[in-house]
Symmetry: C4
Subunit: 201 residues, 4 copies
């Protein structure tokens, strides 16, 4: 069984790492007309989208990793739901690319709506995966303060939904919020660690 | 021996996950001439092909995973046949791309024939892998209601052949059937679960 | 130690599977001017290069897998030599692409020389890896009919060298020989199996 | 716990191997106007950048592998810092591509500054990973001559900083130094082996 979960993780790790790495293909060279460093600076929308999406995929991977470290049994439903989540992850480079291209154009708001909206959906898919594990009792006993976990992870889609709403008001603010969320999730490990300790030890 | 199978799975997982992820590179930005959301909607053939092919590769991976969880011994023939199956998987992005480009053009039927025909061949390669495992006795005892398994998996190529035939009559119908099959394979885990229980427990 | 080798294999599996999968990105759509199937047929140089290179990478992977199943201990020299081999594998899509583009042009012979020459070098790098394992005693005892193994693997570079020489005389003949070698390596598992039995059991 | 580290390694291996393999996508065909081999020779900046970056990523992977073989426990901070390092690795193909395109143009110095500067930052991120492991006591006891290790690894950013400074004076000299460092790191395994023996045995 362990090895069964192992292969789901291997396939997922492949998808996560490839999707994260493909993001670099979308970075364009600085335009020839400008001096190098000013041309590079003019590419900031690409760098920003690259950074936000890489962190988003990376954090999704960390969450995926954390969840699967508690899964003891895999079944077909889990594999199907996991596949849907991976579909979301594979999708990420597309809205990222549109976001990059649209900065400073009339389509920026629309692209940002697609971008933040995609994150809401992917965060919801992650919560679907989590609730699948809970309802099918695939996670180990020590994790069965699952409702709390579920509440904790519900923070993700909620915050990305706020991001989405903020987009109507201001695209830069929505991206800043998106980035702040990534940094918060990445740099506040103490909370997560506490979870680990509570559940696992 | 376990680790020998393990590496075949790792290489296969790599190929499956990369082929699935590369599909996103084929999604084109909405044409500048249209408003964003209408332009995006005009890209539906790309999204549909992306979705169908991702699900196809994902389901092939699930089947591959399920089969290999029963393989106890690997030999050179298995590796060669597995390599042929992976060749098929790596091929998938190409007919997918042609399918996307040809929607609404005179070549749509031909591209759909290539697309559905590729699926027939890949499904046959999977059955070749299965029968290789059976005839060379590489699967474990509990799986040796193998003929039933073989019959079950024969459903795949048969249905994709039906898809292929339907293509002559109507391309949209063939794609709808293709999608329905993906959803059926993905969302009807109960049958598969029963198999698991019968064979493994 | 097992896990140390395990990670070298994981990194190598990644490189092998990605290099093999990236080959599909080089397949071009059939030209619009021709009917679909004739345009597709006109792409045969791309399909042939794709097939040959995929099989070459796949067979290199099988050999790599077989060798590493006998490696019990990894050291820094092994990692460095393995990295050089992987450099060769990563290189493959480039001469493949040039081969495809040059079929039917005046540069076909030159591109085929680069293509077959690359295979000679990569096969030599594999033999360097093998002799590194032998001289540093990294393989297990039962494999220490190593000289015979070395002789067997020396067949690879020799045959690819023949391919390279044949290229001067006839490019199609060199590609046909290249393909025949791939099929031979792939479809004659009995010899390899015998090796396995002799060494491992 | 072992398996927890295992998955971080799997994700990292994926990112390292994909970033290294994507480098090949940037190799351009020789210009049609020149004879094949002279056209190929004219692509030397691409081959040089490809080689340097592949070796850089490969050596970073070897170091990452070596470090993780001593890590016994993973926590959230480790995952976050590891993610930053991977962000650096994913970034590599971009300055590599700019370096290639700018050889022989007025922007060569600037591109080389970005290139060598990226290496400094990535080497610093690796040292941040190392010091995270040390300060959070994630590595095993036998490795706790960690300060020496830290000193050893501090060589990396220092040398890449020298590379960066040399770039102002001469771009070719900086690239030559960069390559010499790669060869030194790759071909001087005796030192590294001694470390292994001292720490591990």
């Amino acid at each position: 069984m362990a090895s069964e979960t192992g292969r789901i993780e291997a396939f997922s790790d492949g998808v996560f790492s490839i999707a994260a790495t493909l993001l670099v293909l979308d970075l364009k060279p600085p335009p020839e007309a400008l001096p190098f460093w000013r041309g590079l600076a003019a590419q900031w929308p690409g760098f920003l989208s690259f950074l936000l999406s890489f962190l988003f995929i990376g954090i999704m991977w960390i969450n995926h990793h954390r969840l699967f470290s508690h899964i003891r049994r895999a079944d077909e439903v889990l594999m199907a739901v996991n596949l849907l989540l991976l579909l979301g992850v594979v999708w990420v480079p597309y809205p990222t690319s549109l976001m990059t291209q649209s900065v400073g154009t009339a389509r920026m708001r629309d692209a940002a709506l697609l971008y933040n909206g995609s994150y809401v959906v992917i965060a919801l898919l992650f919560n679907l995966l989590l609730s699948t594990c809970a309802s099918r009792q695939l996670v180990d006993r020590s994790y069965l303060g699952v409702k709390n976990i579920a509440k904790r992870y519900a923070v993700g889609p909620t915050l990305y939904l706020v991001c989405l709403v903020v987009t109507w008001w201001s695209v830069p603010a929505s991206l800043a919020l998106n980035g702040a969320m990534a940094l918060y999730f990445l740099l506040s490990p103490d909370t997560s660690l506490r979870v680990h300790r509570t559940d696992g030890g």
